[in-house]
């Protein structure tokens, strides 16, 4: 406090005119207060309708509310224990794991490959860019309905594949590879989920193409040229220079795709439903059915909390690192 006082008094002595100026111009509201006032409505709304209801959902997930009549008596972790012993939920966790894994890998590789091809200074580049980006403009429900018919075992692409002697069962397959007994379920990759991954990839690849293309355009040509002069091959340039420089883009795409795939509902609901033996079921679909069909509100709330936590595993480290990076 002390030095501030001295400095201001010094100022006053040295230049009384400026003080008068600042006094007169001193705003009624400082920038800080203004900012808070402007943000207040959205802060209040978000506090109630986002964080308030997350808290409420957490509270419900610990209650006994599993019928139409609300019952808020404390149940501890009963609902969570039930879920982790449930065949359907175990299958959901398995499906989500493999769906997320395949979906992210597929979107990253296809996006990167297409972006590099587009970056070769080809003709009609903007036409291709739009073609790749177009599926993004559809909703997952539309994608789901379309691919439901394309990958239907008795119509769609199988009409061609049958001529080649193949007839994959797509999303009606109940095979799980390798199918190790684990808990109540067979653990492994459900073949049916691959059909869903194809549909999801078709829709979201455009996004990663756009991201990677922006990233590639952001890399200055000087870097490549310098490397070429040093005698690096094109492959080396890509592996040693381009790909590392695209790392921030890759991380962003992974984060965005992970939170889409962990919360996926509409695509699955429109395309396959829970699937035979729950091979394409995901927590989102289970939550909807158990809450709004079965009236198991507390179980449904527990599912959403688990979904929230699983997304948080990806998002929180990202937020922390981006805060560090930004500061």
């Amino acid at each position: 406090m002390e030095p501030v006082k001295t400095s201001s008094s010094l100022e006053r002595e040295s230049n009384p005119l400026t003080i008068k100026e600042t006094k007169r111009k001193r705003p009624l509201l400082t920038d800080g207060v203004k900012a808070i006032l402007c943000l207040l409505p959205s802060i209040i709304l978000i506090a109630i309708f986002v964080y308030g209801f997350i808290g409420w959902t957490g509270y419900v997930s610990l209650s006994n509310w599993n019928s139409l009549v609300p019952d808020f008596s404390f149940a501890g972790l009963k609902n969570y224990a039930y879920l982790f012993n449930d065949f359907r939920f175990q299958a959901d966790l398995r499906n989500t794991l493999f769906f997320t894994l395949f979906f992210i890998i597929a979107v990253l590789t296809s996006g990167l490959v297409l972006a590099i091809l587009l970056d070769q200074k080809i003709r009609a580049e903007s036409l291709f860019r739009n073609i790749f980006f177009f599926p993004m403009a559809l909703s997952f429900v539309v994608t789901g309905v379309v691919w439901q018919w394309l990958l239907n075992p008795s119509t769609g692409v199988n009409l061609f594949l049958k001529k080649l002697g193949m007839a994959p069962k797509w999303y009606t397959s109940v095979t799980i590879i390798p199918g190790i007994e684990w808990g109540k379920i067979e653990f492994g990759v459900p073949v049916a989920i691959i059909a869903v991954v194809i549909a999801a990839m078709w829709q979201m690849t455009g996004f990663s193409v756009a991201m990677y293309l922006a990233g590639l355009r952001g890399i200055p040509d000087e870097l490549r040229e310098a490397a070429r002069i040093d005698g690096a091959s094109e492959f080396q340039i890509f592996m040693k220079i381009i790909f590392p420089l695209l790392m921030p883009i890759t991380v962003s795409v992974i984060i965005i795709m992970a939170h889409i795939s962990l919360k996926i509902f509409d695509l699955i609901y429109a395309m396959t439903g829970p699937g035979a033996n729950f091979v394409t079921d995901v927590p989102g679909v289970y939550m909807f059915e158990t809450t709004f069909r079965g009236n198991y509100y507390a179980n449904g709330a527990a599912i959403t909390i688990i979904m929230l936590l699983s997304v948080a595993i990806f998002i929180v480290p990202y937020l922390i690192s981006s805060r560090k990076g930004g500061a």
Binding site: P27, L28, L29, K34, L37, C38, L40, P41, N66, S67, L68, V69, P70, F87, R88, Q148, N152, P153, S154, K169, W170, Y171, T172, V174, T272, G273, P274, G275, A276, N277, F278, E289, T290, F292, R293, G294, N295, Y296
Partner: protein, 436 residues
Amino acid sequence: MKKSWSVILSILLVFSFVLAGCSSDSSSSSGGDSGKKSGKDDGKGATLDIFSWWTGAGEEDGLKALIKLFKDKYPDVKVENAAVAGGAGTNAKAVLASRMQGNDPPATFQVHGGAELNEGWVAAGKMETLDDLYDKEGWKDKFPKDLIDLVSKDGHIYSVPVNIHRGNVLWYNKKIFADNNLEAPKTFDDFFKVADALKSKGITPLALGDKEPWTATHLFESVLLGTLGADNYKKLWTGEFKFDDPKVKEAAETFKKMLSYVNDDHSSRNWQDASQLVGTGEAAMNVMGDWAKGYFSNDLKLKANEDFGWVTTPGTDGLFMVITDTFGLPKGVKNPDDVKKWLSVLGSVEGQDAFNPLKGSIPARIDADTSKYDVYGKQTIEEFKKASLAPSIAHGSAAPEGFSTKMNQAINIFVTQQKVDQFVDSLKEASSELKK
């Protein structure tokens, strides 16, 4: 300085808009100011919002015909068709649950008679009894007693049935059966003989479309009814007959055997797609409720009794798996008198005969005008009078929604894994919730 004032002003403005939005909303939803001021809320000006999931082809026409009939009788009541589309009623039920729990019930809503009504909304204390309406209209001997029991709890009546659908119908392709000199099966033994004969000819014997698992539950419940008979089947829901009884296991074995005759791509089809297989002659038989008749005749343009035929599912001759749509009066509505007017139209012969021929169902009343119904309808109306009624599980009449959801899950697993003991165990486990 001016700038900061304008900021404050604009914030105030935004807030006041928000507040204004809230207040106007609350006044309009509480039935108008006049009712509030006079202190007597007589519901004048409140709209009668009729909540249902009737948005499909025939059913929407039926609902509109009912609303038209009501408007002719009571032109001064404002009516709103508040139907919610999608998911065979699932979406509507989700909207209904949140409205009921938020104490903003629709004036009247569609609900299946049986557990969905009694163990759901009545048990939750959300429904008004309609005993006086039944007395006033003299309905107690106009509806079958079994049906009134289905909409009653503890001796009080809670809703008015509009229509009856039959669940235990086996539809078959007449041409396939004629070509192969086969008779429609009456018992399970007949069924498997017919199925074997068809299979040897390369025809899919039984069409199933269980993309939505309830269709498999629908098939299983008809097997269950055929194996247990109506009395024991009904006792399942009161706990007098146990799910670990050998008879239930027998039904599960029969169901399992049936599953070996279904089309390979059943999990990619819904019930319409499965019915289509029968209609186009790719499959021979299909078990579905009689709403499939509307699909055969309206959508596929097939002729009843010529292109497609029907019998009761094996072992259920003289039994009637009943699915009834009913409307009730929730507690806390602003215009109960208007709602009762609507219900009295629904329950009248005129109302039932306006709705049911369009919807493709049969009237719930026993004295409706049979001349308005087609050949299937006429036959079913006659059978309905004599048959003993059994509530459907797949359609929420037999057991609370919680049980049917769990049963759907167990069946979805069973269709693939086909482990009978595990299936019976999971049914038993789910049934522990029934006796509350």
